[in-house]
Every structure is written in C-alpha cells, then in structure tokens.
C-alpha cells in the first residue's frame, strides 16, 4: 500500500473519531463546534515542530498517552482565551486561569474529548484501548511540542501526525493532534483492510 493511500485511511479514521468527539463536546458546552478537514503530515521533526505555530506563544496543552491497544499519543493544544471560554461555558461562571480548579475542569474536558475519540476508533478496530490521565502544561508552544515530537520520531527523524482544528465561536481555535507510531499505523491498516 502506498503512503498516499495509507494517509487517506488514517485521515478517514481520524475524521470519524473527531466527529464523534465533537458531538460530545457540543453536548457539554452547548454551542456549535466546527472542525476543519484533518491533515496528515509525515515530515522531518524540526519542520513538524515549527509547523504548529509561533514557538514562544503561551498555550495550554494536554498530552495523553495510549497505554494499551495501539501505540500512539494524543496532543491537544489551545490558546488561553479558548480555554477560558470552554471553562466558562461548562460551569456558567468565570474561573481564575491560575487556579487548580480551572486546570481540573479543563483536564476533565480533555478527558471526555479524547475518550470519545478513542472509543470510536476502538469500536472500529474492535480493540480494547486504554488511555493515560491527561498531562497538563501551560507554557510556550515550542517547548510543549518538541518534548512530544522528540518522543515519537522514527529512525529517519520524521514524525507522522494527523491534525485538525476545532473552532468555537468566531475564531477561537484548538488543535487536536494524533501521533501514531509507525508499527501501530501498520497494525491499524491491517485491521481495517482485512
């Protein structure tokens, strides 16, 4: 199977997963959520890090490892204003961004979003998939992404990732990124094309 076809299958799988996750998200926050068409990248690690945005911009991020089933990770990156907006919509009140409560609420949000995404994939693959607790970070985007991508580069120093943007109200955007390891991609494709 050539790379383009592999990418298409991966993109479609991701699309179904994120579609379901967005429905769940919509139920929690009560406003329409739009998603952009997913994109698959298989590019050198240094380009991958610089692709995701300004390196020194302060963002909130959750990093979720899949500990059983497939070998992959999920990274959610959002601006501070979209994080505030989500928490406000969930609780119907303002919460201080520096408080633990804010982090806990947002962590729960990341948990729900990722669980719905992974549940769909798990059903499609007929596989039991277990997630780790989301790890939280609020720091420079470059600092977050380089740690994650350095964990996932292959022998040729390239990273494979599928990404989409979730759009809430006007232009508030959040990136949802799936970073599968090479062996797990082959496993997924075998499972689906069987």
């Amino acid at each position: 199977m050539n790379q383009a076809k592999k990418n298409d299958i991966l993109k479609e799988l991701f699309n179904i997963g994120i579609g379901n996750a967005t429905i769940a998200l919509n139920k929690i926050i009560g406003i329409p959520v739009m998603i952009s068409v997913p994109e698959v990248f298989f590019i050198p690690i240094d380009e991958a890090i610089e692709k995701l945005g300004p390196l020194d911009k302060r963002v909130i991020s959750f990093y979720i490892n899949i500990s059983q089933g497939i070998n992959a990770s999920v990274l959610i990156v959002m601006d501070e204003d979209i994080a505030k907006c989500i928490v406000e919509l969930m609780l119907k009140k303002e919460v201080n961004i520096d408080s633990d409560f804010f982090v806990n609420v947002l962590q729960e949000f990341a948990n729900i979003l990722t669980s719905h995404f992974i549940n769909t994939i798990s059903n499609l693959l007929k596989k039991r998939i277990i997630l780790s607790v989301p790890k939280y970070a609020r720091d420079m985007e470059g600092a977050i992404v380089d740690v994650v991508f350095a964990d996932h580069q292959d022998k040729t120093l390239k990273v494979l990732f599928v990404t989409t943007e979730l759009i809430l109200k006007e232009a508030r955007k959040m990136s949802f990124i799936l970073i599968p390891n090479e062996d797990s991609v082959n496993e997924i494709l075998e499972n689906i094309c069987h």
Binding site: P44, I45, D46, I49, E50, P54, L55, D56, R58, Y63, K135, Y136, A137, R138, D139, M140, E141, G142, A143, I144, V145, D146, V147, A150, D151, Q153, L157
Partner: protein, 157 residues
C-alpha cells in the same frame, strides 16, 4: 559601525555572528541552546540542539554530538580561537509533569556536557532542566545571555 542585527536560530540549526548582533532562540523545551563565545574577537553562535545523538549529514545541528563538532569547525573558519571559547547552556526541560525521569531533555543535557568536555570547552554558566520552556537572547556585544520563562521571568547568565 555596523548595524545591529537580530538573528533567529531555528530548530536544528546554528548561526554564527559577531558584535553587535543578537542571536535569538525561541520556545526551548527539551531542546538545548549551546551558546559559544570568543571574548576577544567578540564572535559567537547558538546551536539549537534537538536530540542527544544521531547522524544526519544534511542537518548536523539537530544532534549534540555532530552539532558541537560542526559548529566548532565552522567557528574556526570564521576566525574564532578554540582555546578562548567558553560555553553557556540553556534548556533541556520537560514541561509535562510525571515523565521527568530519563526524558529527552535530560539526555540532551548529559550529551551536550559530555561533548563540550570532550572538546575542552568550559561551561561558565547554565540554566538547564526544570519544567518550563525558555527563550534565549544572546548579546554578542558582551557575551551576556538573557533567559526568559513564564515561570521565572528574566534571568541573566
């Protein structure tokens, strides 16, 4: 007198320049910025290292081992004296809690120190490790390194 230039150093790259220029590295997480400086000639560089070890002839500056070696060679060509050069190192953090042990950041720091030691370059100051990202600004006028982080503000090295 020449005009001051601000030079941005990308991931896996290295830039050499001379006073009064300023070298800048943004969003260092597990990456390590190695600042090399020759005080007499007032020339210096930042190497933005991403990974501890490896081989890639097209992008030598991605790795600690080949990065430091290539940068020193390049520096000698630019007129730097190897015996006078010192290093300041910044970075090697892990922003996510819970995965601090044996992270890429820690391995980067160890390898950078090992290779600087191998080439007999003294490390005169450092700001490494921790769980926060950093921006580095390297003033070639006086060899001062300014480190910015959201957690600790500005630190001068």
């Amino acid at each position: 007198m020449s005009l001051k230039q601000y030079i941005y150093v990308g991931i896996g790259k290295a830039e050499w320049s001379k006073a009064p220029d300023v070298l800048i590295c943004k969003g260092l997480g597990s990456c390590v910025a190695v600042c090399l400086y020759d005080e007499v000639k007032k020339i210096g560089c930042i190497i933005h290292i991403l990974l501890p070890n490896g081989e890639d002839t097209d992008k030598p500056y991605l790795f600690a081992n080949s990065g430091i070696k290539t940068a020193l060679k390049e520096g000698v060509k630019k007129g730097m004296n190897r015996d006078r050069v010192w290093a300041k190192i910044v970075g090697g953090a892990c922003v996510f809690s819970g995965i601090e042990n044996n992270t890429i950041g820690m391995r980067n720091i160890t390898e950078v120190k090992r290779w600087l030691n191998f080439f007999k370059i003294p490390i005169i100051s450092e700001d490494v490790g921790g769980n926060y990202g950093r921006n580095v600004t390297f003033y070639l006028e006086n060899g001062k390194v300014e480190v910015f982080s959201f957690k600790k503000g500005v630190i001068l090295l």
